[in-house]
């Protein structure tokens, strides 16, 4: 390892202290430092020990003690260790890493919205109820569905809610049925959801084009099939052109069609699931509707359905009174029940509605068109160097395989890590599973031609490196502050927290 001393004598460059490993907050702590000052207490102080008795906490938790400037620097430094959409292209397939407009953040923090308590009387919450109602109307129009709940907190939670609707509907007809059919190209959340809802999962093998094999589906669907969970466009970015017939096959056996809306960014303003036979679906506001991913959440996973499933929606549902005011209705005897306390991730609703308002119908359509244009441009510019396992037309994402590079011993994961050196976030690696060594690229509409060309240039350069200097790619990244991390050690001997060297006993 080169030290500052040795580097400085040869090049004059040193490694500034901010770019060393940033210590943990706990390691920077020293007793007596303060970053807070409470308002003067305007009521008599109390003796906590005597008020609480046995329930009084004797030993505090080992939280750090720091000043405000140290906290600002700590988190600011940590932030610089992250890649982000704000820094450059983030082509994670299935994740829809689009620009997160800043006005969304601004309006979500408006007084009267951010400080609204969920149990304030409906009469004092009309503004926020109007926002929720408007978003619901927009999402119903965009999906072509009849009824909606915004309660689910994320996509997987939406899947859970949607499959519960399916189950409740079947139950209302006397038989909840036993299985859910899921294509082998599906997101892992789909089978996990079906299992949590008490269904067995039956795999459906994709056809030679990576899509639904209609004949196999027809053979598989029976009187015990509750639903098919489909992603459309599929996880290889291809629109299921037989979608209406797929719906017919299911409906003929009394089964329902569930659509995972992860890829709605390919459809908004161009086609509506409600128009092609989908019975129930979820949306991801953090994908299609620009609410920030925030390093892994919060998301929001509204579920839209056809009218016959409406009685089963979670409680409460929003209703409009005759005078135009709105209230929450809890009188829902057929409801599947609540899936979350309160009403959902309301802060995300505000951001999503702000995004829809900024776009309007023309902007939403242009957004979809640009997303599809970008993916097809990348496909056209890379398909001579990277294997395209399915030649079907791409929508908003394109999936290559590492077949040619693997012949040189370089895998999709290596190419992904090398992309980091070129200043891009990697694409989605090794998914979907129907493609061996998948490179799943979703540029979204947010990339300029210049950024796309830089990405293409990087991918082409890496393909060349694979031919000439494969080791360089296999050991990437070379330019990050930490190199490849030992994941095996992390899992084998888990260190999931910092711990003080010594600790007094008793809680």
């Amino acid at each position: 390892m080169a030290t500052n001393e040795t580097i400085a004598t040869t090049t004059g460059k040193v490694r500034p202290h901010q770019t060393q490993n940033e210590a943990l907050l706990f390691e920077k702590s020293s007793p007596g430092k303060r970053a807070y000052k409470l308002a003067a207490l305007d009521v008599p102080a109390v003796d906590a020990a005597s008020l609480l008795g046995e329930a009084h906490r004797k030993l505090p938790g080992e939280l750090p003690e720091l000043s405000e400037i140290e906290i600002i620097r700590h988190f600011t430094r940590l932030s610089t260790w992250n890649y982000a959409i704000d820094l450059g292209m983030y082509p994670l397939g299935s994740c829809t890493m689009k620009y997160n407009p800043r006005v969304n953040e601004w309006v979500a923090r408006i007084d009267g919205l951010a400080d609204a308590h969920p149990y304030r009387p409906d009469s004092l919450a009309q503004g926020i109820l109007e926002i929720i109602d408007n978003l619901q109307r927009c999402l119903l129009e965009i999906t072509g569905m009849d009824a909606i709940t915004l309660q689910p907190a994320a996509g997987a939670h939406g899947e859970f809610t949607g499959i519960l609707l399916v189950r409740a509907w079947h139950e209302s007809r006397g038989n909840s049925r036993k299985k859910i059919i899921i294509p082998d190209s599906a997101h892992g959340t789909n089978p996990a959801t079906a299992a949590i809802c008490g269904y067995t999962v039956e795999n459906l093998k994709s056809n030679s084009e990576g899509g639904i094999d209609l004949e196999a589906l027809t053979r598989q669907v029976d009187e015990e099939t509750a639903a098919l969970m489909i992603t459309n466009p599929s996880t290889i970015g291809v629109f299921e052109s037989q979608i209406a017939r797929i719906a017919d096959v299911l409906h003929a056996k009394g089964a329902l069609l569930y659509m995972d809306g992860a890829n709605m960014n390919a459809l908004v303003g161009k086609a509506r699931p409600g128009d092609f036979g989908v019975d129930v679906m979820h949306l991801n506001l953090h994908k299609t509707f620009s609410t920030p991913h925030g390093g892994g959440g919060p998301g929001s996973g509204p579920v839209a359905c056809k009218a016959f499933l409406e009685p089963f929606l979670p409680t409460p549902v929003l209703q409009q009174n005759e005078g135009g005011t709105r209230h929450w209705s809890y009188d829902r005897p057929k409801s599947v029940g609540r899936v979350r306390a309160f009403y959902g991730n309301v802060g995300m609703f505000i951001r999503a509605l702000a995004y829809i308002l900024a776009n309007g119908p023309d902007g939403l359509r242009q957004t979809t068109e640009d997303a599809v244009l970008n993916a097809n441009y990348i496909r056209a510019k890379l398909e001579d160097l990277y294997e395209l396992p399915y030649k079907t037309a791409s929508m908003h994402e394109v999936v290559f395989s590492d077949k040619r590079q693997a012949a040189k011993g370089v895998k999709t994961g290596d190419i992904a890590k090398r992309l980091i050196d070129y200043g891009f976030h990697p694409y989605t690696v090794s998914f979907p599973m129907i493609v061996s060594g998948a490179l799943m690229i979703e540029p979204t509409e947010s990339e300029s031609l210049e950024e796309l060309d830089l990405f293409i240039e990087a991918m082409r350069a890496i393909a060349k490196e694979v031919e000439e200097t494969p080791e360089l790619v296999k050991t990437a990244p070379h330019s990050t502050r930490v190199s490849r991390l030992d994941e095996v050690q992390a899992a084998r001997k888990p260190i999931l927290r910092w711990a003080p060297a010594a600790r007094p006993k008793a809680p």
């Binding site: 329930a55 988190f75 919060p298 308002l357 068109e369 244009l373 190199s483």
Partner: protein, 449 residues
């Protein structure tokens, strides 16, 4: 459209490179009768200034400048300014789940710090990277206990947040998993220990209690734990008011803690996004749902952090996963981490003591009015209390609203037996003037003729 970085000429150029005559060519895979050929019927394109006007107007339609005594699972605490300064840095805000560890060390280290702080506060060994919220976390914790014990029955205290219990029921009923509810002692407001003893059997996977419970009363966790463990069941403690941990003894005897961390610097935002989190004894970590960040080293020996033990999760295990959770509440967990950094070891205690003082004063002042009395006085409380009035809450809450005060929430909504009982919360943000004004409005009963 101002978010789209392309000119018409660039679009034409790209289409030419692709070999498409028009953009419609790229959508020709969608059958013609499934294509939308009209404009969506959504509001027209708005300027940024118009968007702000729209939401400001909506904000004004809500009540503003009201003093509020609402708690019940959603608590108004002061939010230090640096929380929003830091979480709005694009590097945190616009980053994805940290699967690519080399370029997401910032998020990973912050989550590691979050996991540590939650473990320290709850007295558990480990904590996960977050769950959606306290209600779904409770349901997931119960499922976790079932996996550990191989049993299917859950016992829940009636004093757990009613909406948490509703969510647990939703998660359980579709797999026919039985849930038994145990009532409360009408004097103390604590779980009825005798009834709990009867309800817990060799079939019980877990007992879930909340502390402070929905009435604001602190449960006797050591006594409950002893009873639960005697039957080989696990104890889950749900914590809805996280600030209580500054001054209330952590539930160290429990096996699993399911916490709602909203109190740690997260805006009320009409009920979400919040921040659930599950913490547990180390031996149960492999049955935990959700993401975990672990410490490791890179190839040069530098410390680094990664998402770990992913073989529990849906993207690896699919239908055999511990949960279907994928996206969690990472940015909200970051808010909580910053909040706890600001208050720190001493500050969180001082903050909790201020809550204790405000609630004590409010409880005393309100209950000393004629026709008003405190319920559940036999056990310690944190920052919430139950007030019983002779007058119907519907009557007096109107008077309070005229004085721009939102009083306690009517418990009859969930507990029909608690007639004229309301749940009040006084955090550090409530001023003595607010409390005194509420007392005056409550006292101003119309004279009976």
């Amino acid at each position: 459209m101002r978010y789209l970085p392309k000119s018409s000429a660039e679009r034409e150029k790209m289409l030419a490179e692709i070999g498409a005559a028009s953009i419609d060519d790229l959508f020709s895979v969608i059958p013609a009768d499934e294509r939308l050929t009209r404009d969506l019927d959504v509001p027209r394109q708005h300027a940024e200034s118009e968007i702000i006007d729209y939401f400001r107007a909506a904000g004004r339609k809500n009540a503003t400048n009201y003093a509020s005594f609402l708690g019940a699972g959603c608590y108004r605490h002061y939010r230090p300014v640096i929380i929003d300064s830091l979480v709005q840095r694009g590097e945190f805000l616009t980053s994805y789940t940290p699967y690519q560890a080399e370029i997401t060390q910032g998020t990973l280290q912050a989550i590691f710090e979050f996991q540590t702080m939650i473990a320290e506060l709850t007295g558990m060994d480990v904590a996960n990277a977050s769950m959606y919220d306290g209600s779904t976390g409770a349901a997931e914790a119960a499922r976790m206990a079932m996996r550990i014990t191989g049993r299917e029955q859950t016992v829940v205290a009636a004093t757990v947040h009613p909406e948490y219990r509703e969510v647990m029921a939703t998660y359980a009923k579709h797999q026919a998993l039985p849930i038994t509810t145990v009532g409360y002692d009408s004097e103390t407001g604590r779980i009825d220990l005798a009834a709990l003893g009867d309800a817990v059997t060799e079939e019980t996977a877990a007992v879930l209690v909340q502390s402070p419970n929905f009435f604001g009363v602190i449960e006797d966790i050591p006594a409950i734990a002893e009873m639960v463990h005697a039957k080989g069941a696990l104890l889950i403690v749900s914590i809805a008011e996280a600030v209580s941990l500054g001054v209330v003894r952590p539930p160290v005897e429990t096996d699993i803690v399911s916490m709602e961390a909203q109190s740690f610097g997260v805006a009320l935002s009409y009920g979400g996004p919040f921040c659930g989190v599950i913490a547990a004894k180390e031996r149960y970590v492999r049955q935990m749902p959700g993401r975990l960040v672990g410490q490791t080293v890179d190839s040069s020996g530098y410390r680094g952090f990664v998402l770990t033990m992913a073989t529990r999760e849906q993207h690896i295990r699919r239908e055999k996963a511990t949960s279907n959770i994928c996206t969690n509440q990472a940015l909200v967990a970051l808010m909580a981490t910053i909040f706890l950094s600001v208050y720190g070891k001493e500050g969180i205690r001082e903050l909790a003591e201020h809550n204790l003082a405000k609630a004590s004063y409010a409880a005393q002042a309100l209950s000393s009015q004629p026709g008003a009395q405190l319920r559940f006085t036999g056990a310690p409380r944190f920052n919430e209390f139950v007030l019983q009035t002779e007058e119907s809450p519907r009557e007096w809450s109107q008077r309070l609203m005229e004085a721009k005060i939102i009083g306690g929430i009517d418990l009859g909504r969930w507990y029909p037996e608690l007639q004229n009982c309301t749940l009040w919360c006084a955090t550090e943000i409530v001023t003595r003037a607010n409390i005194d004004a509420a007392v005056n409005a409550l006292a101003a009963r119309p004279v009976e003729v």
